[in-house]
């Protein structure tokens, strides 16, 4: 069989894997919904959770489609589709594919036609490098969560604070990341304007302001329904504001 990065057989193989992973998501969703019913959880709240999660996911998922398109120029469509549907993310996959290619004296972004052997090498590097979490979660999560549960019984207040502290730690790291190009203001970088580092900061500020506005509307006008959509609205508003802000500061 003559190899091509967009050979139908590759789509069938990737499709089977994506279908299995989709099956896992459906399985866990049904299992959790059944448990929610057993626990007597409010059905309206569960519906709201499903609706909000679905709406919230749309914009990031479209961004993932963009990543698939970006990687497809070198690797064809089937492999990026698989890698970004199962385990991967653009930053991980780009580095892994780049390292695999460079080991074969090729460069990501400049590949004209891969051979089957090169494709197998790239796939193996991407797969073996990224799969730690898949086997480590079964290996340690029961003990790890058991420890959290024991802590909860010993000191419930501290366990809640600990959980919130972990969330805040993650958010703080990403808020810091928003400022990572801020220093261009006083230390210029070739190919970028001095104010370009302010773009993510302004976008974040717009999203934060919209979130505050949503909160105010919920309180003042008693628009409780807005609670379901506040995060997706603030995210879309922030992303939309990036267009004029980039034109202005970029």
């Amino acid at each position: 069989m003559k190899f091509s990065v967009n050979h139908p057989a590759l789509f069938i193989l990737a499709g089977v894997l994506v279908a299995v992973v989709l099956g896992q998501s459906v399985y866990f969703l049904v299992k959790a919904l059944r448990r929610a019913k057993q626990l007597g959880m409010d059905t309206a709240k569960i519906r709201k959770t499903i609706r909000t999660a679905a709406i919230f996911t749309i914009a990031p998922a479209v961004a993932i489609v963009l990543s698939v398109i970006t990687l497809s120029k070198d690797l064809g469509l089937a492999l990026p589709w698989l890698r970004l549907s199962v385990v991967g993310s653009l930053s991980y996959e780009t580095v892994a594919a780049g390292n695999a290619l460079s080991a074969m004296d090729l460069e990501l972004g400049k590949v004209s036609q891969l051979t089957a052997q090169q494709y197998v090498n790239i796939t193996l590097v991407m797969t073996v490098s990224i799969m730690v979490g898949i086997w480590l979660v079964p290996a340690i999560s029961k003990k790890l969560l058991g420890g959290v549960s024991k802590l909860q019984q010993r000191d419930a207040k501290w366990t809640d604070i600990l959980s919130n502290a972990m969330f805040i730690g993650m958010i703080a790291a990403f808020l810091g990341f928003v400022f990572c190009d801020f220093s261009r203001l006083w230390s210029p970088e070739a190919g970028f304007s001095a104010t370009s580092g302010l773009i993510p900061v302004c976008v974040m500020a717009v999203a934060a302001l919209v979130m505050v506005l949503c909160g105010a509307l919920m309180k003042l006008l008693k628009w409780k329904w807005l609670n379901d959509y506040a995060l997706p609205i603030s995210m879309i508003a922030g992303m939309a504001s990036a267009i004029p802000i980039t034109a202005w500061l970029g």
Partner: protein
């Protein structure tokens, strides 16, 4: 006699089967490609490629697993580590659901809510990617247009701007120190950027826990 498993125990059992099954299938993909196209890996280049990539990813993977599992809960962890895009999609989605339902991540209700949010997010993501792959020819010029490109480039600042307000306003006492530290580090250390933010998450989480512990012991929280 068949032992009655608790919900959490059954999640761990089923999650183990699913994750190990998916891992085997993932590894079978390159094997199947090699068999179908009658080729074998270039072992030397494979070793070089793996040596350049795997140690860093394995170290990050171990740290991410230890950090994210307590936040995602059992069901959410099994799903998230298979479907990927954790810090930019699955975890914020779970956080938002927990916050809206006013349940703790460590309670059983929190476990259920987190699993539902992550499962729905995974299904929607998979479907959107499938649609994107099918419609790539008409979609490509739109998604990659010069007008929309800045919007997608700034997705993370837009996401964490909103999420930050929701969480920091409720936990401002423990938020001040880690945010100040992260701002200083990301502004003044050039090595810290989009590629290294994942490594900084566990560091920031440990720092925030230490700050929270001190404030808790002093009776501030």
């Amino acid at each position: 006699m068949k032992k009655n498993l608790s919900y959490i125990d059954s999640v761990h059992r089923d999650g183990t089967v699913w994750n190990l099954g998916v891992m085997a299938l993932l590894l079978l993909f390159p094997v199947a490609v090699a068999l179908l196209f009658s080729t074998a890996p270039d072992w030397g280049a494979l070793a070089t490629g793996l040596f350049a990539t795997a140690p860093m990813y394995w170290a990050t993977g171990i740290i991410e697993t230890i950090t994210f599992v307590p936040m995602l809960g059992a069901g959410g962890s099994y799903l998230s580590f298979v479907t990927g895009n954790i810090s930019n999609l699955k975890l914020p989605c779970a956080l938002n659901a927990l916050e809206q339902n006013e349940v703790s991540a460590t309670s059983e209700e929190g476990e259920v809510i987190s699993t539902i949010a992550i499962a729905v997010s995974s299904i929607v993501t998979t479907v959107i990617i499938v649609v994107g792959v099918i419609l790539i020819v008409p979609l490509q010029p739109i998604l990659q247009s010069a007008v929309l490109e800045p919007a997608f480039a700034q997705m993370l600042p837009a996401l964490f701007g909103g999420l930050g307000v929701a969480f920091i306003s409720k936990n401002w006492k423990i938020s001040v120190a880690p945010i100040a530290l992260m701002l200083v580090l990301f502004i003044f250390v050039p090595a810290l950027n989009a590629g290294t933010v994942g490594i900084m998450v566990p560091f920031s989480a440990v720092f925030t826990i230490a700050v929270a512990r001190i404030l808790y012991k002093k009776g501030v929280l």
